[in-house]
Symmetry: C2
Subunit: 345 residues, 2 copies
């Protein structure tokens, strides 16, 4: 085991006093960097990059070298899980993910609930983590991740992105039992997936519930939170972060999860969130990613306002959503530098 040279993130998660806030960005490994686009241009598509461990490792490390973030997050996609379960996806330019086959019936669910060999099917992710860890050589911690079961369920039933995910939500009302069966199976595969990521070297993991916000409070509790809780209960050897975008109504319930960090989106008022979640979790977020379209002075000011709103409490600086692909890397650096220079009071 290599000792971490920069363990600011992990110490913040534990609630230790630190001199400054750690900082990283969701989607930091990606289209914002010209160096990423150069790697990507040499390939047939997004999926080839995800499935080629050496290149996935390369783009994972780019933001550490170029932007100076306090953590790397493995370059991958939440949709590798449905893919491994037998529903391959394509990334269509200007449109997003698209699945040729979706889950509509009991037979469809049975087809994807057959036991799969996660170690084999997703070996490219674990290999990418191993290479990344070796090349990072202890500079910063490496974050592994997965989609939350509800979010994966959305794509498996809807087959593509949607503003309302009404087909996915329809299934919850039309066949709650079948929905639970599918969510259960996604959860089992996801837990195994995270365990392999940790075995390969992930220092912490984040669960992305990107579409929690399309469910009302009762349904999120029944079909969303329930399975996030199972994941949190199953992963005990590294810290877990839960980011349930849009689930503002669930903040008190999130506080009860067996996880260390809760992500906030840019709509969530920080003081109110801290009050609802209590003092025992580290909070992560939540600058509006669109702030990075502003001039440098505005970015500095809004970043400082955001840091002040968290006060001297357990906080990982981040955006409240993934960084948008057309953001100028110099603006991203400005955000990172502002966090690094911010004197905790």
């Amino acid at each position: 085991m290599t000792t971490l040279q920069n363990d600011l993130l992990l110490r913040t998660i534990k609630g230790e006093q630190t001199d400054r806030f750690p900082v990283w960005l969701m989607r930091q490994a990606g289209r914002i960097l010209p160096e990423y686009r150069a790697v990507r241009a040499s390939l047939s598509g997004f999926k080839e990059l995800v499935e080629t461990p050496e290149l996935a490792a390369e783009v994972t490390i780019q933001p550490v070298d170029i932007l100076g973030v306090d953590a790397a997050i493995i370059f991958s996609d939440i949709l590798v899980i449905p893919d491994a379960m037998g529903l391959p996806y394509q990334m269509i330019k200007g449109k997003g993910p698209w699945f040729e086959n979706t889950i509509q019936s009991k037979e469809d669910v049975q087809r994807v609930t057959e036991k799969i060999d996660v170690a084999d099917k997703l070996s490219y992710v674990f290999e990418a983590i191993k290479i990344t860890k070796k090349e990072l050589n202890g500079r910063v911690p490496l974050i592994g991740f997965c989609g939350a079961p509800w979010t994966i369920f959305c794509y498996m039933t809807e087959g593509e992105g949607s503003k309302t995910f009404s087909k996915a939500r329809r299934m919850l009302y039309q066949d709650p039992e079948l929905s639970h069966e599918l969510l259960h199976q996604i959860t089992e595969v996801t837990i195994e997936y995270l365990r392999h990521q940790i075995a390969a070297g992930a220092d912490l993991v984040q669960v992305f519930d990107s579409w929690s916000g399309v469910l009302g409070p009762d349904q999120y509790s029944e079909f969303g939170m329930k399975y996030v809780r199972r994941i949190c209960d199953a992963i005990n050897d590294v810290p877990v972060t839960v980011f349930a975008k849009g689930a503002y109504y669930a903040r008190e319930e999130l506080a009860g999860l067996n996880c260390q960090t809760i992500g906030l989106d840019w709509n969530m008022d920080v003081a109110e969130s801290r009050k609802l979640i209590g003092p025992d979790k580290t909070l992560q977020g939540n600058l509006d990613p669109c702030v990075l379209y502003a001039d440098f002075k505005t970015i500095e000011q809004k970043t400082k306002n955001m840091l002040n709103s968290f006060g001297n409490q357990r906080h990982i600086a981040n955006l409240g959503h993934g960084v948008y692909p057309d953001t100028d890397p110099e603006k991203v650096k400005c955000f990172i530098e502002t966090v690094k220079e911010f004197a905790k009071n």
Copy 2:
């Protein structure tokens, strides 16, 4: 003036005690009805229907005849405003609205801030309202509507639907002054538009802020609420309903608006919303539209739960979002009948 035979909606808005809750559905005039699809099939497209007053009136009245709702809402689109301001839209099948030209610069804003003749440009809407009023002959009140300035700004700058409206939000950070100039102009045209709708016969009006949820609390207050407030302050002769979808964080501020009714989306907890908004507004909503995909028994049960959650208070039964186009009309009738038969306690 014809006397209204069914004034349940207007009495509920005034806070009078009534025997039952009034009920209507957002998007009730539309694709859910085979009778609508028959009218639509004879035309070149959605826009032709919007712009042909006799047909717009016909599809406006269909849900009153067929579904038995307590109000009609004029068949139109919020995008008639950018269209009148010089940015024509197209409705693209399977995709939604699309604008050939969008607002990106000061010059673009100047082009759309030239004075337009609202009475002439949008005469087709006012004509449709007049015909509808005549044909309704006082059976139920007629609702006029508009998009909130922020939501219209979203389409004018982004040029199409989006999950994040990051281009629209980018402009707020890059040029707040220009953004306010555009929002101001949209607001002026919208107020004139609503006044003409009221003169033509609209008994009340609803402001749809469909994309308030992409803004954080501070930005919504500055760029969203500010202009909704102006509209509310300008319209005094008929009741006004404000539906700010996703703006959960703004409920207390919404309570201060000079309007009578606040719409709730299906994510908003009813008891909490009533507490935040106080007793002086009528609340409208908020059944999850996906409930109408369930079986009849579940629809009845969930509708009753929703009505119970509002208690014996000022409440207009509706969905928490527009009815989804593939909903079975028999399921919609079940929702409506359940509301009508519900004994207020």
